[in-house]
Amino acid sequence: METKLKSRVRDKQTKTKLESKGQRKVLTGNATAAHAVMLCRPDVVSGYPITPQTELWDVLYRLVADGSLDCETVEPEGEHSVMSIIIAASSAGARTFTATAAQGLFFMFEPYIVAANQRLPIVMVIANRESLPPMTVSGGGQDVMIVKTTGWIQLHTESCQEILDSIIMAYRLAEDPEILLPVTVSYDGYYLSYFSEAVDIPAQEKVDQFLPRRERFPIIDPERPMSVGPWTSPQEFTEYRVKHMTALQRAKTKLEEIEEEFQQTFGRSYGGQIEEYRCDDADIVLVAMNSCVGTAKVMVDQKREEGLKVGLVKVRMFRPFPRERVVNVLKGKKAAGVIDRNVCFGWNCGHLLVELKAALNDSAERIPLVNFIGGLNGGDITLEHMARAIDTVNLAAQGKAYQEVTFLELE
């Protein structure tokens, strides 16, 4: 008995030592997110199981159970209640976390909007999944795209390491006095949620230093009664909307400021709102988001070796849309291929194409934008798909006729 206890104490001491230096672990995307949340020390977490993010709660509750994270956990009967609890906790000044996907998000939709309009610095994970029916639990970007105009900030991630780093940055961004908005960190269901890779977990002290507790106002406080979401005149209502939109616009450069500090502290950076990969001298570029960016990078390298001047733009911040930076990087390019893992009903193309078309209206040049929709319902976006996309964009750049939208699965 005694020896068991001693060894447990020793284990704990070794663990603490590792924690002070940071660790390198092989983790799935979900487990990475759970570890990131642990490092950010939320006061209240609440979630409901739904594929493909359930594993996140499995790992997070283990971390709470073994004492690595000290926080309130609430297990309600569904996602609508989850977000309502998180809104209440955040209104009372707590640092909060939740996660969901697809149908869970749609069930959460009503309080999801309240969170943004009430300017609460909530951080949540959406492990992207297709919307039903037909029956699916597989990956696809549809859920997070449907909620793109709810006033939340959206960060999209390519790798497990980026999930961890983005969640830490998301708290800084959300709680910034100039921003005060909820942030969604999204990653592809299955492709990233269950994908294991080595992740650098920074030391707790470093994260504490980077993410200090901040007094924020307003919060619910019995000493200082407040009306939350009171009746307003049309003028006041408009002011709240303008302030909300101003904060969203400010979030673009704010992310880059935070990321600069992040790089100084942790030595990693992702380029801010967008990542420009081999774009400087490129004639054509691919624009993509989420996990398929990795595949695209490999194919860009391969095509570069063949002598084709191709680059890649990864959109990290989808809301607010990085309009200025996208226009800037596409300046002088001859054509762009846009990879979408979702469909935008009503526009007959993917969401990213709609955004790019809107952004490029700021630019005097009109370049061919070729849309490729793939990876729906857990389908692969393969190297071969990327190669075909680049070849098609290359032909469009030379003035050849092109089809605006190509469904990769149906080719």
Partner: protein
């Protein structure tokens, strides 16, 4: 652009709500027959905007805030309140 709201989001001190003269919404007003009023306080308890005031001998509604819903007249046990149409 000049903003008049204090906070970034829709948060406000509760005093601010008192500035809203909800009495503007009214199409009928409660008139208390003071000699009939038994000073029981039912109208005071049930008034949805909390505008009923105690004059120590009877109750009366603050017409700046009374919306004219008529709950006081309906609940008054001695029928001391009549709803009179605003003209």
């Amino acid at each position: 652009m000049e903003f008049t709201t204090d906070y970034e989001g829709p948060w406000a001190s509760p005093e601010k709500m008192l500035i809203l003269e909800t009495g503007n919404w009214r199409y009928q007003r409660p008139v208390v027959k003071t000699e009939k009023c038994c000073h029981c306080g039912t109208c005071y308890l049930f008034c949805s905007v909390g505008c009923v005031q105690d004059t120590t001998t009877h109750f009366t509604a603050d017409l700046d805030f009374c919306k004219g819903c008529g709950v006081c007249a309906r609940l008054c046990p001695v029928n001391a309140i009549a709803m009179v149409r605003e003209v």
